[in-house]
Subunit: 264 residues, 4 copies
Amino acid sequence: MLKGFSVPMTPNGLASMVPTPPWHYVGTNMAVEFIADADKIAKYLPDGLEPSGGRCTAFFCDWQTASGEIPEAYLNPQMSQYKEAAIMMECTYKGNKAAFCPFIYVDNDGAAMRGQVYGYPKQLANIYITRTFGIKSKAAPEVAKGGKFAGYAAMDCGRIMDMQIELEEPTDQIAYPHFANVIGLRQFPNLRKADGYKPEILDLVVGAGGSGSAADMWIGKGKLNIYAQSQPELEDFMPLEVGRAFYQLDEHTLTDMKVLEDLR
Amino acid sequence: MLKGFSVPMTPNGLASMVPTPPWHYVGTNMAVEFIADADKIAKYLPDGLEPSGGRCTAFFCDWQTASGEIPEAYLNPQMSQYKEAAIMMECTYKGNKAAFCPFIYVDNDGAAMRGQVYGYPKQLANIYITRTFGIKSKAAPEVAKGGKFAGYAAMDCGRIMDMQIELEEPTDQIAYPHFANVIGLRQFPNLRKADGYKPEILDLVVGAGGSGSAADMWIGKGKLNIYAQSQPELEDFMPLEVGRAFYQLDEHTLTDMKVLEDLR
Amino acid sequence: MLKGFSVPMTPNGLASMVPTPPWHYVGTNMAVEFIADADKIAKYLPDGLEPSGGRCTAFFCDWQTASGEIPEAYLNPQMSQYKEAAIMMECTYKGNKAAFCPFIYVDNDGAAMRGQVYGYPKQLANIYITRTFGIKSKAAPEVAKGGKFAGYAAMDCGRIMDMQIELEEPTDQIAYPHFANVIGLRQFPNLRKADGYKPEILDLVVGAGGSGSAADMWIGKGKLNIYAQSQPELEDFMPLEVGRAFYQLDEHTLTDMKVLEDLR
Amino acid sequence: MLKGFSVPMTPNGLASMVPTPPWHYVGTNMAVEFIADADKIAKYLPDGLEPSGGRCTAFFCDWQTASGEIPEAYLNPQMSQYKEAAIMMECTYKGNKAAFCPFIYVDNDGAAMRGQVYGYPKQLANIYITRTFGIKSKAAPEVAKGGKFAGYAAMDCGRIMDMQIELEEPTDQIAYPHFANVIGLRQFPNLRKADGYKPEILDLVVGAGGSGSAADMWIGKGKLNIYAQSQPELEDFMPLEVGRAFYQLDEHTLTDMKVLEDLR
C-alpha cells in the first residue's frame, strides 16, 4: 500500500514532495497595486469568474514552511524555503468580489506542486528579494519610514518582473486584489489523444479552514515593471498605472480546499 | 476560453509549461543494471503490479525535446533541454513483464510536469552527465571501446546516485528492466480534508502510439552508487550487485497514453 | 582609462563584480565548535602560521551586503545576498592566537571573488540556512530557548557539511576559533610555465580598519557533519568531538587589509 | 607545504578549483559577427591596445575540459563542463591585429577563475545552447544546410544576450574578431586602502604554446540581441548591424601564457 500526499508515493510516505496538510507558512510580503488593460486581462479569467476591471496587484514573497506531518521542516531549509512572484487580478464570482492569479512563480519544486494542487499555475523562476535584519546596518533597509525593498524574478533567461517599494507609514490595510480572497483554477493535464488532450481536472477551487495573522504592516509607494521577454502572453498585464505599495510579515495555515465548479 | 495543455492556461495557450503532444525526444542514455533487495522493493509497487524479483536498472539521460505544437522548441534550449536520473524495477502486470519507476529526477520543471502527467514521480535535482563530441580530444570520451562516461545526481544538498560506465563492444541489446515497457502511476494530490487528502487521481497508465529508434548502442561494465542522504526511503534500492552497462543514442515520439486501472 | 575594483573593468567602472570598499555586511551566523585531528589539520597551515591543536569552528552565515560605492546595493538582492559555509581552525602567528580558514563556500560569484581578494579560498556551493521571522509561526524557530536552526551545503552534487543547533541561553561569547581574528592566505594563480605555475600572489593577509557589532547572541548545543563526498581532502577535518553552538546577528564593515608576509 | 594551482591550497593539492595546465578543451562554438559603435567601444580597450573600428563577434560555446593533472576530468562533469557567452572586439597591439574581450560569462566557478587567470573578465551567468545529436530527430537540428541553433545568457535575473544562427554551407573560415588572437587583461583586485584600491595585478597577457583543431565548420546567417538589463555598460556593445554566422566543433589545449605589459 503506497503512501504519500504527492509523488513519489512510497511504503512509508516519507518521500512525498509535498507533506500532508495542515501547511504552515511564514514570510515577508511586498505588494504593488497596478492597473492593467481591463479588456486584455478579462480574457484570462476561467469560466465562472467575471471581469470587474483592470485592478491588479504584483507580489514578491519570501516564505518558510512547515506542516503538521513535518513540524520542524524548517530544519530542512532546502525543502521548506521558497521565494514567490505573483500577479493577482480582480474579478467577481457569483457577484462577489474575488481575485484570480494568472501567473505565479516560485523557486522550489515542492512549492510549485503544492500551488498547482490548490489552483495556482506555479512555474519555476529565479527570484531575489531584499531582506531586513534585526540589527542596524548600512547593508539592509529597516522596516521604518524610508525603508526600501526590491524584488526581481526571471524565468528561462528572461526577466519576468521587478518591483521596488519605499515604506511611508504603518497601516492596517492590505493590497487589493489580494491572495486573501483568491479563487484558483486547479488543472491537471491529460495525455490521452482520444480526449483531445483536454485537462483531466479543471476546477474552480477556494481555500477553506485557513487562519493567519500579519505584523509590521506598512504602506508606501512603489515601482513595478513587467516584461514580455520569456513568458508568452504576460505582456497583457503591463502596468498602465502604478498605485500603492505594501509590506508585511505574514503567517498563515492552510488545511482544506473546496471545489466550487467543475469546468470540464 | 482559456487554452493550454498545462498551466498557466491563457487566451492563446502559449504560456503552457508543457506543449500539446506529440512530444519528440532525442538524447543519450546511460544505464547500469543492478540487483536490489527483492523484499524491500516489492513494497514500492502500486496495486495491480506484481513483484517479480530484485532486478533494477539505473539510468542517466541527457535530453532535448520538441513538440508538434512547437517544432523548433530546441531554439529555446532553456525549456527544451533536461537531464534525467531514474531507477526502474522489474514487475509484472496481469502476468506480463513490465517495469515500474519508483524514483526519477530531472532538472527542468516542464519536464517534471510532463513526467507526472504520464506516471513518473519526477522531482527536481542537479544532474551532470559526461558528453562525447564529434572531434577527437583529451577532454571527452569517444563512443568506442574503452570510452568512459559518468553521471551524478543530487537533490536538496544530498547525493542521490552516481554511475560510471566503460564501453566494451557494440550491442543490439538494451538494459532490463527498461523505460520501454514501463507502467506508470499517475497521481494528482487532493487538498480536501473531507477526502482524507487521498489523491484526486491515482491510475496505472501506459504510453500508446509512440515510436522511436536508437543508434550507437554499446554494452560494457559499470559502477553504481545509490545514497540515503536526502531522499527518504531511496535506501531500499541500494545495489546488492551491479551488472551490465549500456550506452545509446535514442530518439522517440510520445503521442498518447492509456489508463489501465483507476486505483482509488 | 578603464575603471573597476575588479573585472570587468569598463570606462565608468560600473560593471565591476566587486564594488570598491568600504564593504558593509549584515546577517545571521550559526557556529558549532569541534575538535579535528590536530596532526592532520596542521598540514593545512601556510608558512608563517603555527599549529596550536585541533580546535575548529564550522559556520553557516546568511549575508546581505552594500558598499560605500553602492550604498543601496540591497536593492539588487541578486548581487548583494549570499550564504556561506566555512571552517576555521586555530593557529598562532608570531606567538599570538589566530585563526585560519582552509575551506569556505558561498553561493554568489561576487562574494567568492571578494573573499579571494582578502585571503579566503571561496568556492561556489548550494547552501541553505533556517531563518527566523519576527512573527510567531509553526513554520519558523524563534531566537529563544529551544529554537533550532540548521544549515546544509553541497558542491558539485556532493554534501560538504550540515549543522543543527539548539539555543539554550543568551551569551556574550562567540565561538573559538572565529573569523574575528583570521589571517588569510591571498593567492592568485599563474599560468606561466616558465615559473612552474607557481602562484603570482601568495601572501598572508589580515583585515584592517574594520568595525562591527552583534545582537541576539545565544549559546547552545549543536550537531555537525562534514563529508568526504565531493571536496577532496576535506575529510581531514572530520569532527572527532562536537562542542558548543552559537547564534547571532552580526553587522560589520571592512575597509582595508594588510599584507603580513609574501610567501613566494 | 601547501599545494594547488589555485585556492583552496591543501597538503596534496587535490582541492584546487583549477588544475595545473595543460588544459584540454572540446566543444561546440556558435558565433555571430556584428558592428558596434566604434567610438563607444574604443573606451573599453586597456592601455597598450589601439582601437581599429567597430567590428565585434558574439560567441556561445558549450565546453567540456580535462587537464594533464586530471586526464579523465570528464568523469566529473559537474566540474569539467561549462557554457560560455562572450563578446570579442577588434583592436591592434603594436600595429598587429588583435582581439579584446570586454565581457564574458560562464556557468561554472572553476571556469570563471581559470579565465580570470589568463585575462578574461569572466562572470557567472545562466547560459543555454541548442545541441545537435548524432541521430535524426525532430527534437534537434542537424549540422547541415538549414540547421538552426540558438543561445541565451542571463545574469542576476537579466538577459545579457541571445543569438540564433542558420547554417548555409561548409566553410574553412572563422569569425573575425576571434578568441584565436585575443590579448587578455589579467587583473587581481587590491583591498589595501593605502594603494587607493588600485589592482594588485594589471597586465596585458597572451596565450602561448597552445594547439588545436576544428571540424564541422559551417557559415550562415545569424540574429543577435544584446541587452542593457542587468550588466552595466554592456549597452555600448549594442549591434548596429549583424553579419555572418559560424558554427564549429573545436578542440584545443592551453599550456602557457606570456605577460606582454604590466599596466600598473
